[in-house]
């Protein structure tokens, strides 16, 4: 039984839905995408453009279904983008234009 409390959806300790889920203990190599997102977040943190706390907040803001559907580093990328937009480091117009070009 879950504790009957207003839990945020990322706050997963003891959540019943996962208690019978097996753990995939096998090795899973990181992809180039994974490493580049990880590296990008590191650069932004070192330059004090984004804190780990801000990145976590952005991840926690992902709606529940998406949070569980997205891979780990796709959550990071969504949060990094969210934070860059919030801080005005990039604008939505700039991002839409850049997306057209990739």
């Amino acid at each position: 039984m879950d504790k009957d409390v207003p839990r945020a959806h990322h706050d997963l300790g003891g959540v019943s839905k996962f208690m019978c889920e097996p753990v995939d203990v096998g090795p899973h190599a990181l992809t180039d995408f994974d490493k580049e997102v990880d590296g990008l977040s590191g650069v932004l943190r070192m330059k004090r453009l984004m804190t780990v706390d801000e990145m976590r907040r952005g991840i926690e803001a992902i709606p529940e279904a998406e949070y569980h559907r997205l891979s780990y580093y796709r959550r990071w990328m969504r949060s990094i983008t969210d934070n860059l937009l919030r801080k005005g480091i990039i604008t939505e117009a700039e991002l839409r234009a850049a997306l057209e070009r990739v």
Binding site: P27, V37, G39, G42, L49, I89
Partner: protein, 192 residues
């Protein structure tokens, strides 16, 4: 459509282009960051453990100031979160988890493994630790208590596991080869 719902690979490419054009983050800087993170690996932690098993003064340092102990072995820790080390004893076995996200002692051990970041691990660790470590075939000896460490804040935690029997007289290098990634998180116990 909410722009944040764009495919992650496209977002990465677009964001990288924009940040490079603005002089905020270049490809070279990102590559350098990747190289630094790639250099960290479980072997670094294994060296710390092997030294703690053979050198009582280093063991004391590792338990009091994990960051300093890591730096003493040439492991770069500047800019990283403080490292906390939890000592397994004959009575207590530690298991590290981050229920809220995936906080992991990356500076020492490198990227966290897939399983550590999974919802199943994050949910089960604090509530059914014995069932969880059984996924690795780990069963604790009779009478040993388990202490689950939920990494919720500024520290990153790793376990100093028990030295396995049958290793008397082994030197540090040989002992290092015994210590696996899972031993320093608590899902496995070192054995020869």
């Amino acid at each position: 459509m909410n722009i944040l719902e764009t495919d992650g690979e496209k977002l990465l490419a677009a964001v990288r282009d924009l940040l490079a054009a603005k002089g905020i983050a270049s490809s070279a800087e990102i590559s350098e960051r990747i190289a630094i993170t790639d250099a960290a690996n479980p072997g670094q932690g294994a060296r710390m453990v092997a030294k703690a098993w053979t050198d009582p003064a280093y063991r004391t340092l590792m338990l009091e100031d994990g960051t300093k102990a890591a730096e003493e072995l040439g492991i770069p820790m500047r800019g990283s979160a403080p490292l906390g080390v939890l000592e397994n004893t004959a009575d207590v076995h530690h298991l590290v988890v981050c229920t809220l996200c995936s906080c992991y002692p990356r500076a020492v051990l490198g990227y966290p493994p897939f399983w550590f970041k999974s919802a199943a691990y994050r949910a089960r660790g604090v509530r059914d630790p014995r069932g969880l470590i059984a996924e690795w075939g780990t069963v604790l000896p009779e009478g040993v208590k388990i202490r689950v460490v939920d990494s919720t804040a500024d520290y990153r935690w790793m376990v100093l596991p028990l030295r396995p029997p049958g290793t008397d007289g082994w030197d540090e290098t040989r002992l290092t080869s015994v210590v696996r990634e899972g031993d320093m998180i608590g899902v496995t116990i070192p054995r020869i």
